[in-house]
Subunit: 243 residues, 2 copies
């Protein structure tokens, strides 16, 4: 467990689609600030989701704490405020890892499959983190050719991703949520060790209600299904037991 | 080596973009007939290339014979006529395997790379053989989810593909040709053994002149570079020593 750390917020380093990263007075610590801004389809669709930043900070905190108790190293240090999380500075691996338990979204479209098919074994995908190219699906040979990570790093990332899937799936099923799929990002910490970064929230996961299969994630925004804020609050409530 | 087989041509079973498949009086043998028809960009571009069928039949025959002498099992039995090849009946694995030694075509576009970059190690790609979906890039998890082949079959296919790359690359370099990339198809024979199928030709490979890097393959058709027929004849001449 991390010891208590007090930091002074520094200058803004980077503004992403859903978060802003700030420096601190400690070179190896950053603050990630969760915004209400939402984008979809490679930022072709834009909007805001009320209170999303607060929800996602709380939900991510809960998941990172859970994963750390199960031995998964993450960049999470502590929640600083409703919208701020103290994290380790990472050199991000430019590969997004997706794990899928049920066919939905990109996989349904790619392979011409019906959404909702249960996969016998989880499907792992790598996407090149490159907005200009539309985050294309790539494979391990492309990762090597682009020199995005070493074989050892990718092996570690793959193993951890499947482990994280098992931990989250089991945790969520007790809260009447199905983990359909989710996206992870990893990075190298100051000691060059690979740790989990980014966030784990309804922005980066698909959650369906176990009984009704109602979508409780960013698909409500992507597909104009309405009740977006309520869905995020519902996930927060089921996961943490409080609003 | 195959013993001499005499067959009687049967009915047409299937017409593809570049070949027609006929049955024979032997249930495990088919005839593949090489057409002059050419297509590109998932058949959005169509045309004919004079004598292409004859060239590709002769070039494929040469490559299949070469591979068989090196211990690679293929569907090739013998050349029957200028445009006809006797082949084993295969249950085709619906996965196209691409091996790349130099960045070109789809990989350049996918990753935003310059065409012509030499890869430190060959890049392997799998594409789902599905015209309606545009033959998308997929990975081994998708192959498993779609039940296209077993893990053992894919392991065998991957190993053979890299071996074939080495054999062809070495053969071609002596003929002043660079093997930029190529596509392979595999299938299961009557004994469920995986063997190489389809063809190996300027339709399915990129060949560049070793000195000038002039394109001597279907890219001349795709990109309207002219001299298409001459390029196919040139490859045939360099590979077989005769027209």
């Amino acid at each position: 467990m991390e010891s208590v750390v007090n930091v002074v917020k520094g200058k803004q380093l980077y503004e992403g689609k859903a978060k802003i990263i700030y420096a601190t007075d400690k070179p190896d610590l950053y603050i990630q600030y969760f915004k209400d801004d939402a984008t979809a389809f490679n930022a072709q669709k834009k909007g805001t989701i009320g209170q999303k930043g607060i929800c996602n900070n709380k939900i991510s905190t809960c998941f990172f704490e859970l994963l750390q108790t199960k031995g998964i190293d993450t960049h999470f240090v502590k929640m600083l405020s409703e919208r701020e999380m103290l994290v380790k500075r990472l050199d991000i691996v430019q590969v997004e890892v997706t794990i899928r338990n049920i066919v939905a979204g990109g996989m349904a479209k790619l392979l011409g499959l019906e959404e909702g098919i249960e996969l016998k074994e989880p499907v792992l995908e790598y996407h090149y983190k490159h907005d200009g190219l539309g985050d294309p699906l790539i494979n391990e040979y492309h990762i090597k050719a682009l020199d995005l990570a070493t074989d050892e790093e990718m092996h570690y990332i793959r193993e951890r991703s499947f482990e994280i899937n098992n931990i989250l799936k089991n945790f969520l099923v007790d809260r009447a949520l199905i983990l359909v799929d989710f996206k992870l990002e990893f990075g190298r910490d100051a000691k060059k060790k690979i740790v989990l970064g980014d966030e784990i929230s309804p922005d980066t996961c698909r959650f369906w209600d176990r009984e009704t299969r109602k979508k409780l994630d960013k698909d409500r925004f992507r597909r104009d299904l309405g009740g977006i804020e309520d869905a995020y609050q519902e996930v927060l409530m089921r996961i943490t037991g409080k609003k």
